[in-house]
Symmetry: C2
Subunit: 335 residues, 2 copies
DNA sequence: TTCATTATTGCATTCGAAGTCATTATTACG
DNA sequence: CGTAATAATGACTTCGAATGCAATAATGAA
């Protein structure tokens, strides 16, 4: 039934008594082929186990049908589901995901060259940091880029992002019900754009509402860093009334540390809020008050924008901001 | 500096005053080129922004340099980090990940065709179920396959897996310190091979040690299903002394449900063990006693085997079983 | 039935790099 | 210095499908 060597369109053509062009046309949608040849070709193709070679097709059509998805190690911690969502939604648009991981800035040049080499139709960057200089490179080579979970106004790329400003405003409003006297902002790492954005928004909003006792600490988004930061803080200071964490993992870490090592009751002695709506933050031992990101919609927006950009390269960059949902958990004191 | 159209090796050749072959050779490692031409070509290539076209290279060399990684939605829940590990380790072997998601069995045929079309060098399947019939298909088309986290003796594919038998034996030994009178085995879904394996191993081991009061319930690996199953059980039965969960998420669900809705103290009233060593199961509110899978080593084994198989297609199928590490948490009563 | 129109078909070319082979330049050494 | 061995180079072909174009077949209108 099938031989060692791969079956090509020529083999099928010969066997079916038609030209190679005919075979090709049968496997492209919407091309003019008579029902008779179509049936004949299909039959022999199936019999011989023929599949069109996507590589050859890519070469001639200059469309690889692949989208590079760049995942920073950070993104992986925070959104385990994003990637499969992206893959699924791109598959629905008949595109595949070519996966790249990005850890350190040094390899970014390399990554860029790799991506160019593979002739991808576009790029989706998950929570990865890109200099605007690099975005310019992509633009120069006509590679559409969508930044997921970034919100940079001057971007040369499309961005999709959940509304941090609004979300954090809601979280702070929740906290303010108790009129806390002092705040601790537990930020993500300084080299994370999202962390910086969330932190600055929080600080600005607190300043606006004349909250004067605000301190900042830096973690790395991990559970352990949440614990460590709180422990470090408590060595020199009393427990703050309210802690604003840049993500849920750190919030959970803070809660565990407070309870286990410092006999601090959450939420009675201290209120904690997170961000993201990560599944485990809703587990009943934590029930973190947080903003749940509209994951599916975010991914859909990213994919839509990318496809639009691929099909119409001239369309101007666009920033989509979706609204997250406030989850009222049990980590903020209720009066 | 760079024009609209893509720069090809011919363009560089013309500009540098050499032949296209020369340009090609400069960009392949280990080929005979004089230092002079190499420098000249490199310089003009950089000036013109030339990158070799991987698609064209794939076509002629018949090596795509891409590995299809198939992720079932289930795998994603259980091992958020596996995928980036796979990508990283494959990148180190100069291969890229082409990502495919597999949800329902219906799409499996489609998936297979897709994979063939893309001429991937090999396949790694993460916790996905494949009929041996399908494995035969892959074999027939000379596509090397590695099954991650599966242990099927008669496989036509390579497999890598953590030692379930040993791990579960250790977990049961932990539980037996308290001489529990009855057991509840909380299995993963029936259509998961891993779940079935873990369940049957547990049941067999319990039978061997003459434990007679053993019941089984089926969840879907999720936190919520852990909660639901326990709740359902407690409606008609008293709390079991020991619960063996097929993964950590369900164990955490069980713990939360027991504490929150049934005033059952873990571990004093009931012991719970999980499997996987999922990060959040070690959070101090849970501290699930479990087996930690040696993730990096598992992935490394999978990648090694795949590369070996790609380079040497005749090498016989191999099954690698790595030993997990017992994590003594705080979810099993200590005498 | 005849001619115009449209639908099918095949031929030949194309995409861009890699590799084969024959040729030329270089080096080594007697 | 001459010759053999080796290194470097370029012309040409190849991979497999897609497509423009011309030729042919099928259809419809008159």
């Amino acid at each position: 039934m099938n031989k060692d060597k791969k079956v090509t369109s020529y083999d099928v053509a010969r066997e079916a008594g038609v030209s190679q062009s005919a075979v090709s046309r049968v496997f492209r949608p919407g091309l003019s082929v008579s029902q008779k040849t179509r049936d004949k070709v299909m039959e022999t193709a199936n019999k011989m186990g023929y599949r069109p070679n996507a590589i050859a097709r890519m070469l001639i059509t200059k469309q690889s049908g692949m989208v590079a998805v760049i995942v920073s190690s950070r993104a992986n911690i925070n959104y385990p589901e994003v990637l499969s969502q992206v893959s699924k939604q791109l598959a629905a648009r008949n595109k595949r995901v070519l996966l790249f991981t990005l850890d350190d800035a040094e390899s970014a040049d390399d990554l860029f060259e790799q991506i160019r080499t593979f002739q991808v139709d576009g790029v989706i960057a998950l929570a990865a940091h890109f200099e605007s200089q690099r975005l310019a490179q992509f633009k120069q080579h006509n590679i559409p880029v969508v930044l997921y979970n970034r919100n940079v106004p001057d971007a040369m790329a499309n961005t999709v992002c959940c509304n941090h400003e609004l979300g954090i405003k809601q979280l702070i409003a929740e906290l303010q019900i108790n009129q806390p006297k002092n705040y601790l902002v537990l930020s993500g790492p300084k080299d994370s754009d999202v962390a910086n954005e969330r932190r600055e928004i929080a600080l600005n909003l607190l300043k606006k509402s004349d909250e004067n006792h605000v301190s900042v600490l830096y973690g790395d988004y991990s559970y352990q860093s949440g614990r460590d930061c709180l422990a470090k803080w408590l060595k020199k200071h009393p427990a703050p009334d309210a802690i604003i964490c840049s993500n849920d993992s750190m919030a959970v870490g803070v809660i565990d540390e407070a309870r286990e090592n410092h006999k601090i009751h959450i939420p009675n002695d201290m209120s904690v809020v997170g961000f993201d709506g990560y599944a485990s933050s809703s587990w009943s031992s934590y029930q973190v008050t947080t903003i749940k990101q509209p994951l599916e919609q975010l991914v859909k927006a990213a994919v839509d924008m990318l496809i639009e950009r691929i099909e119409n390269p001239e369309s101007p960059p666009e920033a989509r901001v979706l609204t997250g949902m406030l989850i009222k958990g049990n980590s903020v004191r209720r009066p």
